[in-house]
């Protein structure tokens, strides 16, 4: 289980860095979020 937490922590760090630094990742995240949000708001 301890190893699982480390993997999750690493994934979270990679996620933050990818959204901040990799072009297009923030757009993808936002577009996906918008799709779900729009559905939920109806």
């Amino acid at each position: 289980m301890k190893q699982f937490y480390w993997v999750i922590a690493a994934i979270l760090v990679i996620t933050v860095l990818a959204v901040l630094l990799v072009p297009g990742v923030d757009d993808f995240v936002e577009a996906t979020f918008q799709r779900y949000l729009g559905r939920a708001a109806r």
Binding site: I8, T15, V19, D27, E30, F33, Q34, A40
Partner: protein
């Protein structure tokens, strides 16, 4: 019992990944000059500020979205707009649902302080948002909206408060 707790912990950890991605993207957008899709952006900085008489707003009817920033709070978002009878209008749907009210906070903020800046085709315009809740003019405005967008906005939805409609009037201060 231990297994249930473990499953819950794993679920929470996995849920943290999309939550982190969305939060990071939202925070990143706050520091940008303007909005992107759904997350609010920062102040509209780039672009020449329009001075003088209002332009013929009919050109916005060929533009899908514009950027709008309120002065208080100074966050910006991308919104739909339409021109009707020489006036400019913006609106927010989903205002009748709880999720919508949580998501769309700018209409409430705009009703409190309507001072706004629009950025259209790279030019900034100072406007004052005035909410319209009723009246015969709604027929023409909502027709302009449904002609331009795949929207079900009509007079009743505005009068019932499901859609909050604002005229973007000139700002004098």
């Amino acid at each position: 019992m231990k297994t249930v707790v473990k499953i819950l912990l794993v679920a929470v950890c996995l849920l943290l990944i999309p939550v982190t991605a969305v939060s990071t993207a939202a925070i990143k957008q706050r520091f940008a000059d303007g909005p992107n899709l759904v997350f609010s952006g920062g102040r509209l900085v780039a672009g020449e500020m329009h001075t003088g008489a209002d332009p013929d707003w009919s050109f916005v009817n060929t533009i899908p979205t514009i950027e709008m920033q309120l002065l208080d709070p100074s966050t910006s978002r991308r919104i739909w707009t339409v021109e009707h009878a020489g006036k400019l209008y913006v609106w927010s749907g989903y205002m009748g649902s709880t999720v919508g009210r949580l998501w769309k906070r700018w209409p409430v903020q705009a009703q409190r302080d309507g001072r706004a800046v629009f950025r259209i085709n790279g030019t900034r315009y100072e406007r004052n948002l005035i909410r319209i809740q009723g009246g015969d003019e709604l027929v023409g405005i909502t027709a302009a909206i449904t002609n331009k967008y795949p929207s079900q906005t009509n007079r009743a939805s505005v009068e019932q408060g499901d859609v909050w409609l604002f005229e973007a009037a000139p700002r004098n201060n």
